[in-house]
């Protein structure tokens, strides 16, 4: 089951982004809050000071009453001289001590002032300077005096404060990103290690373990993982020990059988030569004895071969092989030349003739024993692949048996005790694997069966009788 492809680092990025968002929002709220608080405090202080000052100036202005033209002029000059800009609103008109500060507040403020209270307004001039205008009625007259102060300094300070706060917030966000990234990586690194470890275990490195560094959830997780890996390793070791034991047992059995079977085979071949001289009532039993000794011998041979294959002790020694000649030799040595027709040829292929012999003779033997009629071997070669098709026109193989056809001791018909050991096709397949060859089966009920052996064609190397094992070649 293939795991869905994951994009590594996605969780890390998400964690970092969350960290940045939280830190950024906190910084923004703090900055905005402090900006607004500072702004309000500064404005309040400025206003309070201006109010106190205005009250005092109104008392001073009282000294210039009544406000005729001369008094008005000297009032304005006197205030301007003391460093204050004022606007005087009287019956005679509006007079300002300095033309740049000739700002008269709106009607709401003037109404307040007319009612005898102090009032203020913040205004900005056309050239962009910010003014605070605080005014009141001059006691004992209807004239209004407005003291105008520039608040540009406060605004400049506020701008600076805003810039500092903005830069600070940006720095906080950057720091948050950096710390978030590092933290996310450190937090998630056990996950990454666990993933790598799980992959390593899946690839067969069962000794893989996770470091249990921390006393937290990750540590507990790593411990569980390690326990799982240990259990898995122990289980697999036990299984492969059991398999090795079983294989060794098979090899031992075959080996132990070999000595008595050798004696039996030799004795049988002596007896076979004298069957005709035996009394009739023992002749048939003796024939059966001889035939079964040969069956037993074949079984022991094949058991030994399969245990050698299992142990990986069979080596591949390749050389150029004439396939047609090999097939003829196999058929000749087994006495099948009259029963099996051969068609087609192939250029010499570089392979191990002994392994190929095991494949071909077992597949042909299977066809001869089970397929019966009309066994044919057809050799074709195309596109760097040589194909040998072994066909028969026998009863075919029921579909249910096909998946097990190459299993050891599998018999399609358990009731039938043919001459085969039940290992022939398994041996053929193991040898095919050694050669990188492939065996496939197609069968049709009552029409026959086709075994198709495809062999990769290695081209003969100009400088090589390439051998896969350390050949006993003297070199030169």
């Amino acid at each position: 089951m293939a795991a869905p492809r994951v994009a590594p680092g996605r969780v890390r990025r998400r964690l970092t982004v969350a960290f940045v968002l939280v830190a950024g929002m906190a910084a923004a709220v703090l900055a905005a809050g402090s900006y607004l608080t500072v702004r309000a405090a500064w404005f309040d202080a400025s206003l309070a000071q201006a109010t106190v000052d205005t009250r005092y100036q109104l008392v001073l202005a009282q000294q210039f009453l009544p406000l005729d033209e001369e008094h008005t002029s000297s009032l304005l000059t006197s205030f301007e001289g003391s460093g204050r800009h004022v606007v005087l609103v009287a019956d005679t008109g509006i007079a300002a001590s300095h033309p740049a500060y000739a700002s008269v507040p709106g009607p709401a403020v003037r109404a307040e002032v007319a009612a005898g209270r102090l009032a203020f307004q913040r205004m900005s001039t056309r050239d962009g300077s910010h003014l605070l205008v605080v005014g009141g009625r001059i006691p004992g007259s209807a004239a209004e005096l407005y003291v105008v102060q520039a608040e540009d300094r406060i605004y400049a300070d506020l701008d600076q404060l805003r810039a500092v706060l903005l830069a600070g917030s940006a720095l906080v966000v950057l720091l948050a990103a950096l710390i978030g990234h590092v933290l996310a990586r450190r937090t998630l690194s056990p996950v990454g290690r666990a993933g790598a470890a799980a992959r390593a275990v899946a690839e067969g490195l069962l000794a893989t373990r996770l470091p249990v560094g921390t006393r937290d959830e990750f540590g507990a997780w790593a411990e569980s993982f390690n326990r799982m890996a240990e259990a898995l390793e122990a289980k697999i070791a036990a299984l492969s020990r059991a398999q090795a034991r079983e294989r060794r047992f098979t090899a031992d059995v075959a080996h132990e059988l070999r000595t008595p079977v050798t004696a039996l085979v030799a004795a049988a071949s002596l007896v076979r030569a004298h069957l005709d001289e035996l009394p009739t009532d023992v002749r048939r039993p003796t024939e059966l004895l001889v035939a079964n000794v040969l069956r037993l011998r074949r079984l022991v041979d094949e058991l030994m071969e399969i245990s050698r294959l299992d142990a990986g002790r069979e080596h591949v020694t390749v050389r150029p092989v004439d396939l047609g000649g090999l097939v003829d030799a196999i058929l000749g040595s087994r006495g099948w030349s009259d029963r099996v027709a051969v068609t087609g040829t192939a250029p010499p292929i570089v392979t191990d003739p002994r392994r190929l012999e095991r494949i071909l003779s077992n597949v042909v033997a299977n066809a001869v024993e089970h397929g019966g009629r009309d066994v044919r071997v057809a050799i074709t070669s195309a596109d760097g692949i040589v194909t040998v098709r072994v066909t028969d026109r026998g009863p075919g193989i029921p579909a249910a048996h096909l998946p097990h056809l190459f299993d050891r001791f599998y018999k399609a018909d358990p009731a039938r005790t043919g001459a085969g050991s039940g290992l022939g096709l398994a041996i053929a397949r193991e040898n095919a694997r050694l050669l990188g060859a492939d065996i496939t089966v197609r069968t049709e009920p009552d029409a026959g069966t086709e075994f198709r052996i495809t062999l990769p064609v290695a081209h003969p190397l100009p400088d090589g009788d390439a051998t896969a094992n350390a050949g006993a070649d003297g070199g030169g």
Partner: protein, 227 residues
């Protein structure tokens, strides 16, 4: 079949020893039998034979050691019977100086055929003409070979191999051809027989067996003898 010969059969299993003795006797051979390595060496020293059939798995002194011991003094043909599952057995056996081998369980007729082939190799002259290749001189009629006038101690297999190569100096012989001509295998002989025999022959013929100048390997093809 007319091939007369005296064979020493070394086999520890009594049944195999007995039935093989019967088979070889019926094939017209004289058979002495020994049940272990020491008995085999004692028997060989007392009554030299024309051929030894040697089981690998022997109690006490194993077949390889017996083979090595005999090869120290004699070039008598030796046929190994291997019982182990390992193919390494075959190589070790051949490197000890065995001429041929059979895997157990073997067919009696096949054993007889191998024995006859080996005996033929060591008795029948292939040609009477003395062959002279470079510093080598091979006399098939007298069964002798010499290098620079000094006689070489070759086994029958090594001698036949040298004769085959010396008949056509410079020609490349494939392993299959040599298996057929020297060992009488017509079907899937073991090419290691050739490789190991060539190696042993080089050990006796070449000045420096690691840098062979006479018996050359032709990669991908086989061997040739260069004058």
């Amino acid at each position: 079949m007319g091939v007369e010969g005296h064979v020493l059969l070394v086999e520890d299993d009594a049944s195999i020893r007995e039935v093989t003795t019967i088979g070889l006797t019926q094939a017209g051979l004289r058979v002495s039998a020994a049940a272990d390595g020491r008995a085999a060496l004692a028997s060989w020293r007392a009554h030299p034979v024309q051929l030894i059939i040697l089981d690998v798995m022997l109690p006490g002194l194993d077949g390889f050691e017996v083979c090595r011991e005999i090869r120290r003094t004699s070039q008598v043909p030796i046929l190994m019977l291997t019982a182990r599952t390992d193919t390494i057995d075959v190589v070790v056996g051949l490197e000890c100086g065995a001429d041929d081998y059979l895997r157990k369980p073997f067919d009696l007729p096949e054993l007889v055929a191998r024995v006859r082939a080996l005996l033929r190799r060591s008795t029948s002259p292939t040609t009477d003409t003395v062959l002279s290749v470079g510093r080598l001189e091979v006399d098939p009629g007298r069964f002798t070979a010499s290098k620079d006038g000094r006689e070489l101690a070759l086994t029958a297999t090594e001698f036949r191999l040298l004769v085959e190569l010396a008949r056509h100096p410079g020609r490349v012989f494939t392993r299959d051809v040599l298996l057929e001509r020297v060992w009488s295998y017509s079907y899937l002989g073991d090419s290691r027989l050739v490789d190991v025999a060539v190696q042993r022959l080089r050990g006796k013929v070449e000045d420096d067996p690691a840098q062979p100048r006479m018996i050359r390997t032709v990669r991908g093809a086989g061997y040739k003898l260069t004058p």
